[in-house]
Symmetry: C2
Subunit: 180 residues, 2 copies
């Protein structure tokens, strides 16, 4: 079956600090027309930093859309033309004060496939040493080390809501289990 | 540390068919002001339908923001005031033609915590029987049954990008492994 949707027109509604919003008209496979509301985003990186005792360096941060503090792995959006690996190193040190001897790309995720074009690259960081964290101005967060096994159980019990954190924790656990 | 951000003002930029966009001003914990671009969404459900042979009923669908066909579990957004369990039954039958004897809630995910308030409820459906699929008008998709173990490997190998699908497959696999 032909599934492709062809762009007929595109109108930019909003050009923000973080997101751009477009309303596009598309032609569906049967020739009929439909509207697509698209939010565009520069992309992001996230990282599971695991210390030599099997603890993950986690971040607690207020998330305004939900009005509450969430537990997440370190992450950040890409600056224009920034190399994702450099972004990981920057966010890791800024948010958690960790410097990694080894960083591996372990996956990619699309957050909201129907309307949002954000892609997040997922990394695993090991062989950690610690310096002082220095969050960006206007960034308020708490750092906490939690055993990876505990985090897997928290994901399974529904105690971690953030999508990138659920995926990265479950993937990192399977990868590190396979190396034992 | 106090992490709360207080709303100072909120301006609606766009009121669409699927999303609403707001630009809010907030007061940070140190008293300074910041801008938050917020996309609001009615919420959604997704489901891992596993047949008696251990195959998952999967969907291939063109996703306009990425310009390509993605492999996903069945899912759909909530209608106003719709019960999530009813939405799961509806989407499951519409998209895949499956009717489940047993449906369990196995988790929740927040897709993009910094800017998007979408929550997706995750379900596991078993004891399946099949009728004819009947997608919504304007919805074009292909249905394919793939073994759950194969899908886990595809998630680990980076062959499935959709966030809800990665989480739901890894969680469903751990849950069903625990029952063997």
């Amino acid at each position: 079956m032909e599934l492709f949707e062809k762009q007929v027109s595109s109108k930019q509604i909003f050009d923000g600090k973080v997101v751009k919003l477009f309303v596009d008209q598309v032609e569906l496979p049967d020739g009929s027309l439909a509207i697509r509301e698209i939010v565009r985003h520069p992309g992001a990186v996230c990282v599971v930093p695991v210390d030599n005792d099997g603890n993950v360096v986690m971040i607690r941060q207020f998330r305004y859309p939900f009005g509450k503090v969430l537990l997440e792995i370190p992450a950040g959006k890409l600056e224009p033309n920034e190399d994702p690996l450099e972004a990981v190193k920057r966010e890791l040190e800024e948010e958690s004060g960790a410097v990694a001897g080894r960083i591996e790309h372990i996956g990619e995720l699309y957050t909201t496939v129907a309307i949002f074009d954000e892609k997040i690259q997922i990394y695993l960081a090991t062989d950690l040493t610690f310096v002082n964290a220095h969050p960006d101005q206007g960034e308020f967060l708490e750092v906490e080390r939690i055993p990876l096994d505990t985090l897997v159980q928290m994901v399974m019990d529904g105690e971690i809501q953030d999508a990138k954190t659920q995926i990265a924790i479950l993937k990192a656990h399977r990868i590190l289990e396979g190396r034992r």
